[in-house]
C-alpha cells in the first residue's frame, strides 16, 4: 500500500510540474485572432498560404473584433497572437492598451470592404428605402409630431406610403455581433441623424435613441447563423434579413437586396463608399513578432497580393469587396515599409 501511495504521489507531482512548466515554448505557427466578419476571408488566405508556401497553415480564432484586439494587445511573446482581424478600425483606447502592454509597433492593413445588406427572397417586390425610412421602421423610439414615442409603425406603408403595405418583419444578428454594431451605427444612427428631431437630443440620449432597435417583435434576432436567416427568407417573401454582403453573393440566385438611398449593394459601389452601409475591414500585425514566428510577413504579403485581392483574386470569389487598384498599390507599399500605426492617425 505504501508503494502505491508513493507512486500516486509521484504521478500527481509530475503532473503538476508538467502543467506549470510547459508553456513559453517556441511556436512556428502564426496565431491569428479577431473578427468573425473577416474570418471567412482570412481563413481562405491562411489555407492558401499553408498549401502554397513552406510555412505551416496559420491558426485562426474567431473572437470578434473587440475580443481579438483585447487578446492581441495583451503583450509580446509567443503566447500572444501575432495578427488580429477587425471589421472596424482599432479604437484609440485599444491602441493605448496595446502600448501600455509593450505592444508598441503595429502595422494596419485595410483589406477591402463589406456592405451590410437588407435582403429578401426574389419573390418579394423590390424595395428602395432611405435611411430615415429604415430608422422609422426599426428604431425603438421614433418621433411622431415632435414627440419621441415607442415605434407605432406596423406596416412598411405606415412609414411611407410609397413602401409596400406589408408588416415590418426583419431578421438580423444579435447584439453580440459586429454586424449588428455596424448596422446600428451606420444605418440606424445614420437615418436618425437626418431627422430634424434628432438635433434636440443630448449626446447621451442620442446614442440610446438612435442606435436602439425595437423589441416588439418586428425585429427578430436570429443568432449568429446567417445561413438560417437565408433559409427563413426563402420560406417567407414578406420577411427581410440583415447580413453581410458575402451571404448575398453566395445566394445571389435566390435573394435580392433592397436599395438604400437609391443605391444597390453592388461591389463597385460598396468599394467606393457610395453604398451607405459599408464598413472597412482591417488586420493588424504585431511587428515585434516578425522574425520570431516565421512567415508573418509572407502571410501579410499573400493577403494583399493581387492573386488574392486583385480584380480577379480568389477573395473576390468568396465575396470580399476588393479595394480599388490604387488601394491595392497603397497596400503593397505599406507591406514594404511596415509603418507603425500612430495615435494621431486614429483621431
Amino acid at each position: 500500500m505504501i508503494k502505491l501511495n508513493k507512486t500516486l504521489a509521484t504521478l500527481a507531482l509530475a503532473g503538476s510540474v508538467a502543467a506549470i512548466s510547459s508553456p513559453a515554448m517556441a511556436r512556428d505557427t502564426i496565431n491569428i485572432v479577431g473578427s468573425s466578419t473577416v474570418y471567412p476571408f482570412a481563413t481562405v488566405v491562411a489555407e492558401r498560404f499553408g498549401t502554397t508556401s513552406d510555412f505551416p497553415t496559420p491558426k485562426l480564432e474567431s473572437t470578434g473584433s473587440g475580443g481579438g484586439l483585447k487578446i492581441f494587445c495583451q503583450g509580446i511573446g509567443t503566447n500572444h497572437p501575432d495578427i488580429t482581424n477587425a471589421s472596424r478600425r482599432i479604437k484609440s483606447s485599444e491602441l493605448e492598451l496595446c502600448q501600455s502592454n509593450g505592444v508598441e509597433d503595429i502595422t494596419e492593413f485595410r483589406i477591402g470592404s463589406d456592405g451590410i445588406v437588407i435582403a429578401s427572397s426574389k419573390d418579394a417586390e423590390p424595395m428602395d428605402l432611405t435611411l430615415e425610412q429604415l430608422f422609422l421602421a426599426l428604431g425603438e423610439k421614433v418621433p411622431v409630431d415632435g414627440e419621441w414615442v415607442a415605434n407605432p409603425h406596423k406596416n412598411w406603408s405606415d412609414v411611407d406610403s410609397s413602401l409596400p403595405n406589408k408588416p415590418i418583419r426583419v431578421m438580423g444578428p444579435p447584439p453580440t455581433s459586429g454586424t449588428r454594431d455596424s448596422f446600428n451605427e451606420l444605418a440606424l444612427a445614420g437615418g436618425c441623424d437626418r431627422l430634424p428631431e434628432a438635433a434636440d437630443l443630448s449626446e447621451d440620449q442620442h446614442s440610446a435613441t438612435c442606435e436602439s432597435i425595437r423589441e416588439d417583435g418586428a425585429f427578430i434576432e436570429a443568432g449568429e447563423n446567417d445561413n438560417l436567416i437565408v433559409q427563413k427568407l426563402m420560406g417567407d417573401a414578406s420577411m427581410y434579413g440583415v447580413f453581410g454582403y458575402s451571404f448575398l453573393e453566395e445566394n445571389s440566385d435566390r435573394l435580392q437586396a433592397a436599395k438604400l438611398d437609391g443605391v444597390a449593394p453592388e461591389p463597385q459601389l460598396i468599394a467606393e463608399d457610395k453604398y451607405p452601409v459599408a464598413r472597412s475591414m482591417f488586420f493588424y500585425v504585431k511587428k515585434a513578432h516578425i522574425g520570431v514566428v516565421p512567415g508573418i510577413k509572407e502571410y501579410a504579403a499573400e493577403f494583399v497580393s493581387p492573386a488574392a485581392m486583385g480584380p480577379n483574386g480568389y477573395l473576390k470569389d468568396v465575396g470580399l469587396i476588393v479595394p480599388t487598384r490604387d488601394g491595392l498599390m497603397a497596400l503593397q507599399k505599406k507591406l514594404d515599409k511596415m509603418p507603425n500605426l500612430t495615435m494621431s492617425e486614429l483621431k
Binding site: 502543467a19 491558426k59 474567431s62 445566394n251
Partner: protein, 424 residues
C-alpha cells in the same frame, strides 16, 4: 348485510371511473414518451437526411498530358522551375478535349469544374513521379465544390447552385460518360478543416477530441474517485464536509461557460499556457466533469451494502483494506458508468472551449497535447456558420460522427453496468 351490499355497490360504481382514471394516467405517460421519441425521430431524420450526402465526394477523372511547353516546365525535380510552372493549363486542356463544344477560351468556365487545389495535387504527384513528364496520365481529382453541390442537390431549394447553365450541361454530360462520379468521401475522414467544402474533413477534430478527452479522463477519474472515497469513507461528518458537499452539488449545476472563464483566467493568463491546445481544453473539461464523477461515485459507494464492510471489519481488515479490497471493486461499475456519462457530456461541450481559443480554424491535424486543435462539436459549429452551401451537408455529417461517438460511449457504459453490476 344491507350495508355491505351498499358498499359493494358504491365500489362497483366508482370502479369504472377509477379504471378510466388509470387509463388516462397511463395515456399521459405514453403521450410524453411519444412526444420525446417523435422529437428524436424528427431530429435524426433531419440530420441523416441532410448529412448522408456529406459522406460522398464528387471526383473528376482526367487524362492529363504533361506537356512541358504548356506547363513551362522542363525538369520537375528543380524546385525553382516547379514554383513558376503552370499546373492549371493541363487540366483545362484535358477538359476541353473531352467536351466537344468547349474551347480553350472557356478557360474560366472549365476551371470552375475542377477543385481549386487540383493544380496543387498535380504538382505534388508530378514532383513525386518526375518520369511522368511528357506522358499522359489518368488522374482522379476532386471536383469543384460547386460541382459537388450541383451533382448531389440538383433542384433542392436548400442549396444554392452556383454553376452557369453551360457548366451544368457539361457536368450532366461528364456524369453520363462517367468522368464525374460520386464515391465514398474518404477525404472527410483523412483531412483537417478547410474552407473548401470538398476538401474539408473531421480527422483534425476527431484527434483533437480524443486528445482532449484523454487529458480529461486521466485527470478527472482518479481525482473524482479519490474525492468520493474520502468524502464517503474517511471524512468526519461535520459542518465543513457538509459545506463541501453542498458546493460539489452546486458545481455540477454551474453553466459550463463559467469553467471556460476560469480556465482562461487561471491556466492561460496566470500560468501562461498556450491558447487552443487540447491540454488546456482537457483541464477545463476536467473541472467541469469532476462534480459529476464525484456525485456518481459517491452514490456507487453508498450502494455497497454495509454488511460487506462489517464482514470485512469483523475478520480484522483495516479501514484501508476494507475500502480498497471490498468497497472499491464493488462500487467500480457505478463509478465507471458515471465517469463515462460525464465524459460523453464533456465530448459534446463547446462553450468553455470558446474562451480558451479552441474555436478556431485549424487545418493541420494535431499531433500532441500542445498542438493547436479543435474538437468535434466546435467543428460542427464552425461549419454551420460558413456561407458555402456545401457545408450544410458536411455539418450534418459531422454531427453524425459526433453522435456515433456519443452513442458508443453510452453503449459502453450500459454494457459495463450490465456486465459488472451486482444486485444485492
Amino acid at each position: 348485510m344491507n350495508n355491505q351490499s351498499e358498499q359493494a355497490e358504491i365500489v362497483r360504481r366508482s370502479l369504472k371511473r377509477r379504471y378510466r382514471k388509470e387509463r388516462r394516467f397511463r395515456s399521459y405517460g405514453i403521450l410524453a414518451i411519444a412526444l420525446a421519441l417523435g422529437a428524436l425521430i424528427i431530429l435524426f431524420a433531419d440530420i441523416i437526411g441532410k448529412g448522408h450526402t456529406g459522406f460522398l465526394k464528387t471526383t473528376i477523372t482526367l487524362d492529363v498530358e504533361m506537356d512541358s511547353e504548356r506547363m513551362y516546365l522542363e525538369d520537375p525535380t528543380n524546385p525553382d522551375e516547379v514554383r513558376m510552372a503552370d499546373f492549371v493549363e493541363p487540366l483545362i486542356v484535358s477538359l476541353a478535349k473531352i467536351l466537344p463544344d468547349a474551347t480553350e477560351d472557356d478557360r474560366d468556365a472549365l476551371r470552375g469544374l475542377v477543385n481549386a487545389y487540383s493544380a496543387n495535387q498535380l504538382r505534388n504527384e508530378l514532383t513525386a513521379n518526375p518520369d511522368w513528364m511528357g506522358t499522359t496520365q489518368t488522374i482522379t481529382f476532386l471536383a469543384n465544390s460547386n460541382v459537388d453541390v450541383y451533382v448531389k442537390h440538383k433542384g433542392d431549394d436548400a442549396y444554392s447552385i452556383k454553376l452557369s447553365e453551360q457548366q451544368q450541361a457539361w457536368v450532366d454530360e461528364l456524369q453520363e460518360r462517367g468522368v464525374i462520379e460520386t464515391r465514398f468521401n474518404d477525404v472527410f475522414f483523412t483531412s483537417g478543416d478547410s474552407r473548401d467544402p470538398a476538401r474539408a474533413g473531421v480527422l483534425g477534430a476527431i484527434v483533437g477530441s480524443l486528445l482532449t478527452m484523454f487529458v480529461t479522463l486521466v485527470l478527472s477519474f482518479p481525482i473524482g474517485v479519490a474525492g468520493a472515497i474520502y468524502l464517503e469513507e474517511f471524512a468526519p461528518k461535520n459542518r465543513f464536509t457538509d459545506f463541501i458537499e453542498v458546493n460539489i452539488n452546486n458545481l455540477a449545476a454551474v453553466p459550463s461557460i463559467i469553467f471556460g472563464l476560469l480556465g482562461l483566467a487561471v491556466f492561460i493568463n496566470l500560468f501562461g499556457m498556450p491558447r487552443s491546445v487540447p491540454f488546456v481544453g482537457g483541464l477545463v473539461l476536467t473541472l467541469m466533469t469532476l462534480p459529476t464523477i464525484i456525485i456518481s461515485s459517491r452514490a456507487a459507494i453508498q450502494s455497497v451494502p454495509p454488511s460487506i464492510r462489517e464482514a470485512a471489519e469483523g475478520i480484522g481488515a483495516s479501514k484501508m483494506q476494507v475500502v480498497l479490497h471490498h468497497v472499491l471493486p464493488l462500487a467500480m461499475p457505478g463509478m465507471l458508468t458515471g465517469s463515462i456519462i460525464g465524459m460523453a457530456q464533456a465530448l459534446g461541450e463547446t462553450a468553455p472551449l470558446l474562451l480558451i481559443g479552441m474555436v478556431a480554424f485549424i487545418v493541420e491535424v494535431p499531433e500532441g497535447f500542445f498542438d493547436a486543435a479543435t474538437v468535434l462539436p466546435v467543428q460542427v459549429f464552425l461549419w454551420a456558420g460558413s456561407p458555402e452551401s456545401g457545408f450544410i451537408e458536411r455539418a450534418s455529417a459531422a454531427i453524425m460522427v459526433l453522435l456515433t461517438f456519443l452513442m458508443s460511449m453510452n453503449a459502453l457504459a450500459i454494457w459495463l453496468r450490465k456486465r459488472l453490476e451486482r444486485r444485492w
